[in-house]
């Protein structure tokens, strides 16, 4: 398997998982959770045989399958579940710790989570790829070897055992015959870092890799043309949009809604999708991916350059506006170029500036980015978790907000009636459209190249994940 990124040991340890989907490509190979997305199930019982929520919504009880063992032979127990949860420091850990009062070990196979108050999203955070808090790690082993030792040689209860890691080069895994679902069909997985996209496509064509992750449009096109190979678009919750970071600054031209609407009408989303994504990424009208629960299903604003020019003139820019630099999230430069071209075509004069990945993420999180920038977000959850990060005024990545959206967000977080909750979340999303808070571009589909040896790639089998269901991957005889 040829990866687009470096495989770092931090990804062997769920306790520090960042708010991204990519680490799950490694985590779900080595580790397993009580509840997680399984083939055909958004939230399937995995290490847990069953779970139930108390009538008051304040207690969740999980019953573990009997006879489960970690790769080193230690039994998987309720103590491990409690230890893993309390050790977790990754994304949304503050939220989880604030809401979970206590984890109670009832007996070796039963564990209870006591919440301070009902929290309808508990299982979204604990049982999906929204966080890695539900992955279970071996308490005894980690206590013996420490965190560093664990990252050097991780032990899990997932379908594959860790064999070796050459930093930045490859990770070798071996099928764990005792995996509770079934022993993986492919006995040995070698995950290699191949950062250059064209080379990633080449290793697929030469047969050096069976699956190549995250191919960019032009590289994916060459794969698509080869009759021996196939391109599989992921179906994970990823989306790209254009941010107007300065819209809350009254001195900025972007405070004018007409200008933001002009941007929305200037973008030919269909053509951008064709250029960057071979037509696999459906244009969108809201920044919550359509595959997520509670997502508002809306059409994007029409591509209408005349209307964009008219809105510019109405906003006081009949000769266009100098919009400075546009920074796209790395490595989505093809999308960035397309966006720049369509904006320039209507008189929103901008030029693309590339920055390195770490700098972009740091500046984005520190809210230092200005002007226009294209972002892409692929972590899981539901509409509420996206609202929390990007629309709620106190969100980690929100550059501003509105009191009514904040109120709705806080209300829905307490609402246990699913229908009412959905209405509130839809209302929030509609408000972002009415106020033109963003220029949504497209639901992003990672383009995965699959080679001729693969009989079953399973890339779309895991809900909200672009990675295969590893234990189900089959090679041709």
């Amino acid at each position: 398997m040829a990866w687009h990124v470096t495989l770092a040991p931090t990804w062997f340890d769920p306790s520090t998982a960042p708010p991204q989907i990519t680490p799950f490509g490694m985590l779900y190979a080595i580790h397993d959770a009580l509840v997680r997305p399984l083939p055909g199930q958004k939230m399937g019982n995995s290490l847990a045989e069953s779970w139930k929520e108390s009538p008051d919504g304040k207690t969740y009880e999980f019953k573990l399958r009997s006879g489960l063992k970690f790769h080193n032979g230690d039994p998987v127990t309720a103590e491990d579940v409690k230890f893993s949860f309390e050790r977790y420091r990754g994304t949304a850990s503050k939220e989880l710790q604030a809401r979970v009062q206590q984890v109670e070990v009832v007996d070796p196979l039963t564990v209870r989570f006591h919440l301070k108050e009902p929290w309808p999203d508990f299982m979204t955070f604990y049982g999906t790829t929204a966080t890695a808090a539900g992955l279970v790690v071996p308490k005894k082993y980690i206590t013996q070897v420490g965190d560093e030792g664990f990252r050097k040689h991780p032990i899990g209860a997932g379908p594959y055992k860790f064999v070796s890691h050459a930093p930045g080069v490859e990770v070798v895994l071996e099928a764990y015959p005792g995996y509770w679902r079934h022993a993986p069909y492919v006995k040995r997985l070698v995950m290699k870092s191949v950062p250059e996209g064209t080379t990633r496509a080449a290793v697929l064509k030469t047969g050096e890799a069976d699956i190549a992750y995250a191919l960019d449009g032009p590289d994916a096109e060459t794969v698509k043309k080869d009759p021996r190979l196939q391109i599989v678009p992921s179906k994970h919750a990823s989306i790209m949009w254009l941010e107007f970071a300065e819209q809350w600054d009254p001195k900025s031209p972007w405070a004018d809604k007409r200008l933001r609407l002009a941007v929305n009408h200037a973008l030919n989303r269909k053509a951008i999708n064709e250029a960057a994504c071979l037509g696999y990424c459906p244009p969108t009208g809201v920044i919550v991916p359509r595959v997520m629960d509670f997502a508002l299903q809306v059409e994007p604003p029409a591509y209408d350059p005349q209307k964009a020019k008219q809105l510019l003139a109405e906003a006081g820019y009949p000769n266009g506006i100098d919009a400075g630099e546009l920074v796209p999230i790395p490595p989505f430069f093809t999308t960035g170029e397309s966006v720049v071209n369509y904006l320039n075509a209507v008189g929103i004069r901008t030029r693309m500036r590339q920055v390195e990945r770490a700098a972009f993420y740091a500046a984005w999180r520190e809210k230092k980015l200005r002007g226009l920038f294209v972002v892409g977000v692929g972590n899981s959850g539901n509409a509420a978790s996206r609202v929390q990060e990007f629309m709620y005024s106190k969100g980690s990545y929100a550059y501003g907000g509105y009191p009514d959206i904040d109120d709705l967000f806080l209300q829905q977080a307490r609402e246990r009636d699913v229908k009412k909750r959905e209405q509130m979340l839809h209302k929030i999303q509609q408000l972002t459209i009415d106020r033109v808070m963003y220029a949504p571009i497209m639901d992003f589909r990672a383009l995965m190249g699959v080679g001729p040896r693969v009989a079953e790639h399973t890339i779309t089998w895991i809900h909200n994940s672009p990675f295969p269901s590893y234990e189900d991957v089959k090679l041709k005889e």
Binding site: P19, T91, E196, E208, E356
Partner: protein, 306 residues
């Protein structure tokens, strides 16, 4: 001579110190590494604890002093991403870069020297024109483009060579050619011009008048005297090839220092960036020092003017 050498050594140490200050400052000016290292949900307390544990809460001069004292003891810190000593990672990756650089130098020497010499001897002939055209083309083609073209031809179309990673001796061929390509052109031009200078000299004319075989005139008398600038260039070339491997290693997924540093920059793994830059600078400065000393040994005028 000892005074000259001492002066050059002191200059080299000062250069290294300047490099260390520049790399130390640039890494910190490019942003706060803690923002990348810590998860989004980390509390302010967690962030401050991490900052303190890495010594990043102290004033810059204190941080620099701590950094340079540790470097002097061979401790470059721990990689933020790989959680291993930076020096261990460099040692692991250096072998791969050395293998790649070594092959590239062999290719450069095997191609550039004979073609450069022949081109000078047959000046104005068809091969001379062809060689000069090749040299111009060689220096104009960007390595990443050449690398991808070679991958497509020899990997994808002909299925002759592997296209990524390191494993068998075959893996090094394409990245080696790509890395050496640019340098072939440079060394070929230098060899040709050095040979042209020497071929016009009196002692070469004398050797020919004496009736020595042409082969002996060219290789024994002319080339030997033209070799000094070529050897100097080749030594520096090797170090510059190591630096140039950054792009080539990325294209071919070659697990060397170049790929390590690119990934480190991308993830702001500052101990690795500092260590690799210092390591490569030390090599460059070290080779320069050796060349200076050799030059002074071979040419007394240099040591007296220096």
């Amino acid at each position: 001579m000892p005074r000259y050498i001492l002066g050059r050594v002191v200059q080299s140490i000062v250069s290294m110190l300047v490099v260390s200050v520049v790399v130390f400052a640039l890494v910190r000016l490019s942003g706060d590494p803690i923002t990348i290292m810590m998860p989004a949900e980390a509390t302010q307390k967690d962030i401050e604890l991490m900052r303190a544990s890495l010594g990043l809460d102290r004033p810059w001069p204190v941080q620099y002093w701590r950094f340079i004292s540790r470097v002097a003891q061979g401790d470059f810190g721990k990689s933020v991403r790989f959680r291993r000593p930076a020096l261990d990672l460099i040692a692991e990756r250096y072998a791969a870069t050395l293998e790649l650089g070594g092959l590239a130098v062999l290719i450069v020497i095997a191609v550039a020297l004979p073609v450069g010499v022949y081109s000078a001897v047959r000046r104005g002939g068809p091969l001379d024109y062809a060689a000069r055209m090749f040299a111009a083309l060689g220096q104009a083609v960007p390595p990443f483009w050449l690398g991808l073209v070679l991958v497509l031809i020899f990997g994808v179309l002909l299925h002759l060579l592997p296209t990524s990673g390191r494993g068998t001796p075959l893996h090094v061929i394409l990245p080696g050619i790509t890395l050496g390509w640019f340098a072939v052109a440079g060394l070929m031009r230098l060899t040709r011009s050095s040979m042209l200078d020497v071929l016009g000299s009196e002692y070469v004319k004398l050797a020919r008048i004496k009736g020595l075989p042409e082969r002996q005139v060219i290789w024994k008398h002319a080339f030997k005297n033209a070799a000094l600038p070529i050897v100097t260039f080749a030594a520096l070339l090797f170090v510059s090839l190591l630096n140039g491997s950054i792009i080539v290693e990325t294209v071919f997924g070659w697990p060397g220092l170049g790929l390590l540093v690119i990934e480190a920059v991308d993830s702001r793994d500052y101990p690795i960036v500092q260590a690799v830059v210092l390591f490569l600078s030390a090599m460059y400065i070290g080779v320069n020092l050796i060349v200076d000393v050799l030059y002074a040994y071979l040419n007394p005028k240099i040591r007296y003017s220096g």
